[in-house]
């Protein structure tokens, strides 16, 4: 027992190396994850942007947090896919019959999700900079932004893990991400919520994306974040814990 514990981190390193190779050898996983949000950003800024009324004069600044969340929501679908393939191809069974800690397999995928999503986000932020995104945030604010994004990625990745482990088909393994990708559209990510009809607005203001977007936006603008950041953190942590427990249960079966 001790020995499997001692090797936990080196085993996880091997697993991370393996699935990062998977990511880099099918570049489409990174490209697709970047392209769609970038296209959306172009569309909203240059096509709809003129018609949308926000409080800021820089719509790219307003838009970016929501775009980043959409990128994460589509990025984690690949984690579900990779886990599903591992399960299908029986390689998980090989790992499980070896003297390694079982959860390293899962954590390897989770870490890969964080690293590959981080790469996509950096690319998207660079494109946003070209499009006129400017931030007056200091180092601490950027760290807070990174922290929230990582936490959000973790929370969604565990939902992806649950989906990948319990899906019966490849389509099923990634279909769960569509509602997640859609969620930012019914939030304050693209337009302020006060322009929405009451029913929609109540939903928009009480779903996790709005406080996360508001917190990110305030941090990036170097403004005080208020209580949004706590609501955002609570949502992320809550989703993470629930998804983690269910995913672990699916994994143990």
């Amino acid at each position: 027992m001790e020995s499997t514990k001692n090797y936990f981190f080196s085993d996880m390193g091997v697993m991370l190396g393996r699935s990062m190779r998977h990511v880099f050898r099918s570049m489409d996983t990174i490209i697709t994850v970047c392209i769609t949000p970038i296209a959306m950003m172009l569309l909203f800024v240059y096509v709809f942007g003129g018609a949308i009324q926000t409080d800021t004069d820089n719509y790219v600044n307003y838009l970016l947090p929501g775009i980043l969340l959409i990128a994460i929501a589509s990025g984690i679908a690949y984690t579900a896919y990779r886990l599903f393939m591992d399960k299908q191809r029986g390689i998980i069974e090989r790992f499980h019959s070896m003297p390694i800690s079982r959860s390293t397999v899962l954590w390897g995928h989770v870490l890969t999700s964080i690293v590959s999503n981080a790469i996509s986000l950096v690319v998207i932020i660079l494109v946003a900079l070209i499009m006129g995104f400017r931030s007056s945030a200091g180092v601490m604010s950027w760290l807070a932004v990174a922290g929230i994004l990582i936490l959000f990625t973790l929370a969604l990745t565990w939902i992806a893990a649950l989906a990948g482990l319990s899906a019966k088909t490849v389509e099923g393994a990634s279909a769960f991400s569509y509602p997640l990708i859609f969620l930012p559209f019914i939030s304050s990510a693209f337009v302020p919520t006060d322009s929405m009809p009451t029913v929609v607005r109540v939903f928009a203001e009480n779903q996790p994306v709005t406080p996360i977007v508001e917190a990110l936006r305030a941090l990036l603008a170097g403004q005080p974040v208020g209580h949004d950041i706590w609501v955002a953190l609570a949502w992320c942590l809550g989703i993470w814990i629930v998804a983690y427990l269910f995913a672990m249960r699916a994994f143990k079966r």
Partner: protein, 252 residues
């Protein structure tokens, strides 16, 4: 000669259907033990229980002296599994697959281990290609090579030759024989009587949830009434013809 695997009264049901009713057998160290059974007999189920992938409903099973239910970590240190369907990483190359497993087995020199296994299994030329470009036989060889990393004393092979052509099948038989000569205990399942005849020191026949017959090939033959002697010209089997033609290619 100690006992490598000991199974007593093993039971397992899936959603009400009783797959294993009461399975008993024993495998001695260094033996090739063949579990023979038709589709759905429960061979894979037994392999999964013995390799700690599945929990039994009742009965006991010990591998290398460790109970599979209470000491799974010790069992995993003693075994390796080549499952019914090749479990190789499709995106890593053959060599990377071997290195990965060697690292996970915490060996001191993963690269050397990989190189020597690639050589031994005739995969050196294909080492830097992905398994998706391999033939069925090469894939299976890589799969078995992955199981040999770290030289575990007990190896499980679940239908290692199903779906292979006769030549590839004979290659696998050779590998199995060599392993056994080196002292490894081998637990093999198959649907082919002939495979059991070729390889096994002991054969057990699994049918309707129980071992209905077990022993050496000689002992099993005694269980059946002696065949009546008939004088007919022996027709070569398709396999024999195929091998006679292909065999002239010589050693590779």
């Amino acid at each position: 000669m100690g006992t490598a695997i000991e199974v007593k009264g093993l039971r397992k049901s899936f959603k009400g259907t009783e797959v294993l009713k009461s399975v008993d057998f024993e495998v001695k160290r260094g033996q090739i033990f063949t579990l023979l059974g038709s589709n759905g007999a429960g061979k894979t189920t037994i392999v999964k229980i013995l390799t700690t992938l599945l929990k039994q409903d009742g009965g006991t099973a010990a591998v290398n002296g460790f109970d599979v239910a209470s000491k799974p970590d010790q069992v995993r240190k003693s075994i390796s599994l080549t499952g019914q369907f090749a479990a190789v990483d499709e995106i890593l190359t053959g060599r990377e697959n071997l290195i990965m497993i060697a690292k996970l087995r915490h060996l001191a020199n993963p690269r050397q281990v990989a190189d020597s296994l690639l050589m031994r299994f005739g995969l050196t030329d294909a080492a830097d290609r992905k398994p998706s470009t391999y033939s069925g036989g090469m894939r299976r060889r890589l799969d078995i090579a992955l199981s040999l990393v770290g030289n575990p004393p007990i190896i499980f092979l679940d239908e290692p030759t199903t779906g292979l052509d006769p030549e590839a099948r004979i290659e696998v038989w050779k590998i199995v024989q060599e392993l056994a000569n080196g002292g490894t205990t081998i637990f093999l399942t198959t649907q082919y009587l002939e495979e059991a005849e070729q390889l096994a020191d002991r054969i057990a026949i699994l049918h309707e949830g129980r071992i209905i017959a077990g022993g050496t090939l000689e002992e099993l033959k005694k269980l059946f009434p002696p065949a009546e002697v008939e004088y007919v010209e022996k027709q070569p089997t398709l396999e024999e013809i195929f091998l006679a033609i292909v065999g002239t290619k010589g050693e590779k």
